[in-house]
Subunit: 163 residues, 2 copies
DNA sequence: TATTGTTATACTCTATAACTATA
DNA sequence: TATAGTTATAGAGTATAACAATA
C-alpha cells in the first residue's frame, strides 16, 4: 500500500538567495560563451530559486505547482498523461502525488472507464491553494518581467516555446 | 586521502532520446503558458540530452565539459574560483575533479602562493580530449542553430546572457 | 577569524527494471 | 501482449554542516 511511506517532505522546500550568477570578470568562459545550454542552465537556476522563494508561503516546488496547475485545468487526467505533459517520470510522479494527496490538495479517483487508471482532480482546498499559488507565481513572473524588460520577457517566452 | 573513493562513475553518462518535448495538444497547460521557468526547464532538458548524446564519444557530462573548458582557459585556477564561476558546489566539485584526475585529464598542483589552494591545470591528454570535446560540442551547437534558426539562436544567447 | 579543500548527510531528480492488476 | 500505477535501486545534482590545514 505504501500509504505513508516517504510521502511527506522532511524538510520544507529550500531556496537559497540567488547568488550572483554571472561569472567573475577575471575568469574566462572561453567556449562556453557560444553554448546556449550553459546560459539556459544559469537562467534555470536563477528563475527556479526565485520561484521557490516566492512560493514559500504555500510550500510548493516548481514541479508540484505545475502538477496542480495542469490537474486543475484538466479534470480526470491520468497519471501517465500528466507525466508525459510535464516531462516528469511516471515513477517520480507517484510520490509527488502522494504528498499532494496527503496534504489534502488532490485526489486519485478510480477511473470509471479503465480500471487501471486514476482520475486526478483537485480538492476544494487544493483549488484554494492553487489560487494562492497562482497569485504568488504571477508575482514571481512580474519580477522576472521587470528584471528582463517586458520586451525581452515576451521574446524569450516565444523563442523557447517550441523546444 | 580518499584517493579512489567514489571517484569513477560506475555507469557511463546516459542520454536518452530527447522525447517529444512539447505537451500533447489535448492537455491544457493553463497558467504554465505564461511562465518563463516552465519553458526554460523544457529547453534545458532538450539541450542537455542532445549535448550528452553528442559528447558520448568522449564520455563527458555537461558539467565535466564546462570544467575542462574553463580550466583549459584559466591556468592555475583554484577549486573555489572554478566552483563560483560555474555555479557548482565546492563540495560537489571535489568528486568531479577526482574523476577527471583519475582519467588523467587534469591535475591538482599545490599553489605556490597559498598553501590551502590547488592550482588546476589540464594534462596533455586533457588538452587533447578537450579539443575533441570542443569539436563535438560545436557540432551540437550547430544542430541547435539549425533547429532554432540562426537568428533565434543568436537572440537567445544574447537574451539569456545576464541571468 | 576566515578561507580552501574535504567529508558526510539528507534530500531531489533522472533513469531503469520489475512487479501487479487490469485491458 | 500491452498499459497504468507502483516499488526499488543506482546515480547525479543541490544544500548544509563540520573539520583540518592554512592564512
Amino acid at each position: 500500500m505504501g500509504k505513508n511511506a516517504n510521502s511527506r517532505r522532511a524538510v520544507p522546500y529550500r531556496a537559497t538567495q540567488p547568488k550572483r550568477s554571472s561569472a567573475q570578470a577575471s575568469v574566462a568562459l572561453d567556449a562556453l560563451n557560444g553554448h546556449l545550454g550553459y546560459f539556459i542552465r544559469r537562467a534555470q537556476i536563477w528563475v527556479f530559486q526565485d520561484f521557490i522563494r516566492t512560493l514559500k508561503p504555500v510550500d510548493l516546488s516548481p514541479a508540484e505547482y505545475s502538477v496542480l496547475v495542469v490537474t486543475g485545468a484538466n479534470r480526470g487526467l491520468s497519471q501517465a498523461e500528466l507525466a508525459a505533459t510535464l516531462a516528469i517520470e511516471r515513477a517520480r510522479l507517484v510520490r509527488l502525488l502522494h504528498r499532494l494527496e496527503e496534504r489534502g490538495l488532490l485526489q486519485r479517483l478510480p477511473s470509471s472507464a479503465d480500471g487501471r487508471r486514476h482520475a486526478l482532480q483537485l480538492t476544494p482546498p487544493g483549488r484554494t491553494t492553487l489560487a494562492r499559488a497562482k497569485a504568488l507565481a504571477a508575482r514571481h513572473e512580474q519580477g522576472l518581467r521587470t528584471r528582463l524588460g517586458a520586451e525581452r520577457h515576451k521574446l524569450l517566452l516565444a523563442a523557447l516555446r517550441d523546444f
